[in-house]
Every structure is written in C-alpha cells, then in structure tokens.
C-alpha cells in the first residue's frame, strides 16, 4: 500500500502528470490574465477559452527542427534542458501537498526541507547561466552574465523573507510551518511585508517583467535561449512553467498556510492558493516596465534586502515577546 501511495505520489499527484497539466494550465492562466489586463483576448482557439494552447505550443515545439550550434558545447547544451526540468520537478515533490504526516518526517517532508527547496529553486538560475554560456552566441553570453548578475541581487532578500515565517514558526519543515500558521492565522498577518518582498524576488527569479532582463527580446534577442530550438526549447519552457508553479507553491505554503485536508481538499487548496500567488505575480508583470540590470541590483540592495532584514528582526523580537 505504501509503495502504491509513493508511486502515485511520484507519477500522478503531485508527480509528473499533475506537474505537466497543472503547469501548462498555470501558463494559460497567466497568459490569459496578462492579455485581459492589456485589453487583449489572449489564447482563444485551442480548447475551451484556449486552455489547451500551452500544450499545443509544447507539442508543436517538440516537433520542430532541433539545431545545435557548431561551436556550442554539445553535451552540456543537450543535457541542460532535461536537467533543469528534472530539478524543478523534484522541487514539486517537496511541497507538502499530500503523503506526509506531521509527526513522522519522511523522504519528502523532513526538517530542513525549506532550505532544500530554496536550493532547488536556485539551481534553475545556474542552468540558465550554463545554457547561455554553452551556446557561445554573443546574445546568449550577455544574457548569461545578466542571469548571474541578477542572482546576486534577489537571492539574499528572497532567502531572508522566506526564512522569516520559519523563524516565527520555530521550524525548518514546510509542513510544520504551514500547520503553525493554520493554528495561529493572526500571526501570518505579521508576515505580509515579507510576503510582498518575496513576491518581487520570485518575480525576479522567474525572470518575468520587470525582471525579464536575461531574455529581453528588444535588447538581446532571445538572450539565454537564443540558440535553443525545438525539443530543448520546449523543455525549457515547460521548466519555466513548473518553476512558476513550484515558486508559487512555496510562497503559498510559507505565507498562506499551506494545503491542508489530505488528497482532494488539499488539491483544491493548492490550486486556489497557487493561482492567487500567480495572479499577484501577473499583476506585477502587467503594470511595470523592464528595468536595467544595474537597477535590479540597486533595488534589491537598497530597498529589498534592508527591508527583509528589518522584517526578520521584528519577527525575532515578536517571537521573544510571545514566548
């Protein structure tokens, strides 16, 4: 029975099948919302209200010609998309959606899994950097350096703000943090500034406007993905969708009280809460313009990081007062 449950966990929910369909759905939701905010229609034709459009795009890209540049590092160039997708999908398994018990830590829910998840979310950035670098295209190289430059900006505030609720909940385990805030909902309100900072940092991590600097099409064409085509590009795009879902899931777990209620209510909780986070991310995307890479650094070190530190100090003080 336990083996069956684990298999279902890996393959069905929240494993590969669910990841594929839900992340494409999240992309559709994001695209449609973005389009409606801009007074456009967005996808309409494939499926009801265009809901199958991301899957159609994926299949189309899979069937396209796949070119590897002559001067590129062939092995790395080929392996990176698959690696990236595998890494972010593994991150999905760490989200406490189902198949965990609060009293017994397991392989997918253990003390310190919040750090592992943050680590797993850092890896795609390096995948993008290596992808750009190994393409040896000028635009890719510039994009790759931009990826790394941005990383130094947003990573510290992101870690600080995501760990703030963990400090208050006195646990390094995602399931326990979520459970803590379900029991003390008013304490979750204290984390609202951290939530907002984390939203901005996640936006930067996902490289969406105003932080779509590494693949700013009007400046450096496709940026890191300039040389990618066909299957590899399809995998990269799917990877970015999955990353969106995982990052939204992390924020929902840490700040919005997780996904309680076992299989079905937990699924509904998961969908509602991640869509809420994606909605906020989409709002940010639609109302801003792309900033420069040096502005990202100054924004995060001048405002985001100090604010995150202040928030952490405030939380530590409050924790001292409570106990």
């Amino acid at each position: 029975m336990a083996t069956l449950k684990t298999l279902a966990y890996l393959i069905l929910y929240p494993g590969l099948l669910f990841i594929f369909f839900y992340s494409t759905f999240a992309e559709w939701y994001d695209r449609k919302l973005y389009a409606r905010l801009q007074n456009r229609m967005g996808p309409t034709h494939t499926g009801r209200a265009g809901v199958l459009q991301p899957i159609a795009d994926f299949i189309k890209l899979m069937s396209k010609e796949d070119i590897v540049p002559e001067r590129a590092d062939r092995g790395m160039f080929r392996a990176l998309p698959a690696f990236g997708l595998a890494i972010v999908s593994a991150g999905m398994l760490l989200l406490p959606v189902w198949n965990y018990s609060l009293s017994n830590p397991s392989a997918t829910s253990f003390s310190g899994d919040i750090v592992v998840l943050l680590y797993i979310l850092s890896l795609p950035t390096f995948i993008f950097f290596l992808a750009g670098w190994s393409s040896t295209n000028l635009f890719s190289t510039v994009g790759a350096t931009r990826v790394l430059t941005m990383l130094f900006g947003y990573e510290v505030p992101l870690f600080l703000t995501v760990l703030t609720p963990a400090v208050l909940a006195n646990s390094w385990r995602l399931a326990e943090i979520a459970a803590f805030y379900r029991h003390h909902p008013w304490l979750a309100l204290l984390n609202i500034p951290a939530f907002l900072i984390a939203l901005i940092c996640v936006q930067a991590k996902l490289e969406r406007t105003p932080f779509d600097i590494p693949h700013a099409e009007t400046e450096i064409v496709g940026g890191t993905f300039t040389e990618y085509s066909g299957k590899k590009l399809a995998l990269f795009r799917l990877m970015m969708d999955v990353e969106l879902v995982v990052a939204a899931g992390l924020l929902a777990t840490v700040f919005l009280g997780g996904f309680p209620g076992g299989l079905l209510p937990g699924l509904i909780n998961f969908i509602i809460k991640t869509l809420l986070v994606i909605f906020l991310l989409c709002l940010l995307r639609a109302t801003t313009s792309r900033i420069r890479v040096d502005q990202v650094i100054s924004l995060s070190w001048r405002y985001l990081a100090p604010l995150a530190v202040i928030q952490l100090l405030v939380i530590i003080l409050i924790k001292g007062l409570i106990s």
């Binding site: 510039v142 801003t288 890479v293």
Partner: protein, 400 residues
Amino acid sequence: MSFQIPIGPQHPALKEPVGVRVTVDGEIIREADLRLGYNHRGVEKLAEQKTWTQNIYLMERICGICSHSHATCYVQGVEKLMEIEPPKRGLYIRILVSELERVHSHLLWLGVAGHEAGFDSFFMYVWRDREIVMDILETISGNRVHYAINAIGGVRRDLDELQIKHILDSLEVLRQRSAYYEKLGTTEPSFVARLAGVGYLSREDAIELCAVGPTLRASGVPMDVRKDDPYAVYDEVPFEVCTADSCDVLGRTVVRIKELLQSYNIIEFLLKNLPAGPISVRAPRRAKPNEVVSRYEAPRGENIHYIKSNGSDKPERLKVRAPTLANYAATIKMLKNGFIADVPLIFAAIDPCICCAERSVAIVDARTAQERIVTMSSLRELSLKTAKHQARKREAEWPL
C-alpha cells in the same frame, strides 16, 4: 574585455533593416557605428521618370507612417514651381490631415517606446487608442495608411458636416486618453527609471549635430518649421512649440505627448474655422525651369524636398532629406557610454524611419570587409567583365 555586438540588420528591436554595431565593454557601449543601405529603393531616380502628378503617388510611398508628410512637402514645392495658389479650404483640409497624421505617428511612437522598454501593457493600450485616429483618417480619405488626399493645387476630397462632427467627438476621447498616458508615461516608476537620463544629448550637441524634430526640441531648442517658416495656413493657427529641458529619452516622450495635446487643439481650431469655397485649383501640366526647396514639419522632424524643373512635365531632380537622416549623427553621440539595454530605447527615441532615409548603398567586399565607392559606369564595367567569362545562358536549349 570588449567585444562587438551586431544589432541588426535583423533584430527584434528594429522594425526595418539597419545595422547598429556597438562595441561594448561589459554592459557599457564604447563605440557605435551605423550601417545603412539595406533598404535602398532608388526612389529619387524613379521620380525623375514620372510626371508631376504621378510623383505624388510615389512620394506617398516613401514612408508608411509619414506618407502625408512627404506628399505634402513635394506638393508644396511643385505648387511654388508652377506658381499656383491652392484655395484656403484645400489648405485647411491638407493641414488637418497632417495634424491627424502627427497624432497617429506620435501615438505609434509612444507604443513602440513602451514596447522597447518592456512595458507591453502601455504598448497595447496606446495602440488600441491609435485605432481611433486611424478611423478618423479613414473617414476623411477612405484609407488608413496612404491617405492620397493631396493633389497639385489643393486636395482631392472635401469634408461634410457629419464627418466634422465625428472627428470632434472622437477627439474628446483621444484627449482624455492622452492625458492619462501623459500621467502614466511620466510617473510610472519603473518606466521613468528606464527613460530618465538615458541617451543624453546636450543643447549644444543637438544644434551642432543638426538634430531635428522632437529630438532637438527635447534638448530645449524651440525649433519648429511650423513656427519658424510657416507654410500653408500655420501662420493663422494658434499653437505652441513644445520643448523639454531634460535632454533625454524621457524628455523626448514628454515633448511628443505635449505635441499630441497641441495637435488636438490645432485640429479643433481647423475644423471650427473651416472656410467655405473650392478645395483645389487646376494645375498646369508643365513647370517652368526653376528650382525650389520645400520645408515641412513632419512628425519626426523637418522634412526637406529639393525639386528642380526643366520646363518638361517631369522633375529634373528630386532630392528628399528625411528627418531620420538628420538625426543619425546625434544618435551615435547618444549611444556612446550608454548601456546595451538602452540601445533600442535610444535608437527608437529618434523615431527612425529607415527606408525614408536610405539614399545610398555601400559596396562592401565580403572577404576583406573593405568599403568602396563605385560609380555607375565602373559598376557596369565590372558586371561586363564578370559576365564575359560565363557562357551566355539561353532560355531553353533544344536537346537534339
């Protein structure tokens, strides 16, 4: 480590082929170089083979955005050559269309600026509202792009009361929306952060490098052909020359938005004071031998046509100096010491119309990358020399 990045001739930031080669040091541009000639069409040569009236058709097709500007500039010059005076009503309608064209061109530019800065929502909103002015132009002329309203000696279509009412109604919507865009474009923090201080061009440099249009006015020089050398009926129309002192891309945006609001006032004035009478006079077929320089304030800046006649029904020489050409020198100045991220913004800020400005082709040796200037006769000799060794190709060879 410095390396060269080729922006263009094919690049998502460019709507037309032009080469901008930037030598960068990390993210900072040290050297910039423009490569022209990818879009040369030989319009000037073609114009020498067409009659005066046929050339209106050709001049309109120099550019898709400022089609009316080139046609009007040409027609004004030819009217001076032929010594005819178009009637007042005709001039009013001609100027009305040119102001509407300015509105549509500036709205288009605003959208493009939003897109180049990665602010796609702004782009979508502005272009949605640009449709209103396109519809107005369609009601007046029947066309959205090449209005074909000009004729030598006046205009081709009259306005009726219903059309005037429609234009005035639509104008109100445009006014409100433009006020909103003024607020958005000058206060949205991330957008302003991208535009302010980018592409600095000092007042002295702007004058020295002969910049024209909004690029010049954004450097604080109130120069506008409509005011300095009023053509048609601009001496009767009240309006202000809009300038900005910030000398950067933000200033160019502000100038264009202010000009939009001025254009709405001009359009309203023209429609409310439209004189009665005929819209055109009959033009002769030939012009006496003479030469003329016609100036016109296009949305992008001063447009100059030099026309020479020799007594026949065709021009002997027609030289077009499009505003984009005048702004190229200033662009190079603006690009230096900027960021790569700002190249599309700075380049777009002059509102480049590449094909307007293409007047030559550079011959570059593919192996040595050396440029040569080749005359027509030596080009012909070269082609004969190369062709001599090749067997003449027959259209079809009989197999037996």
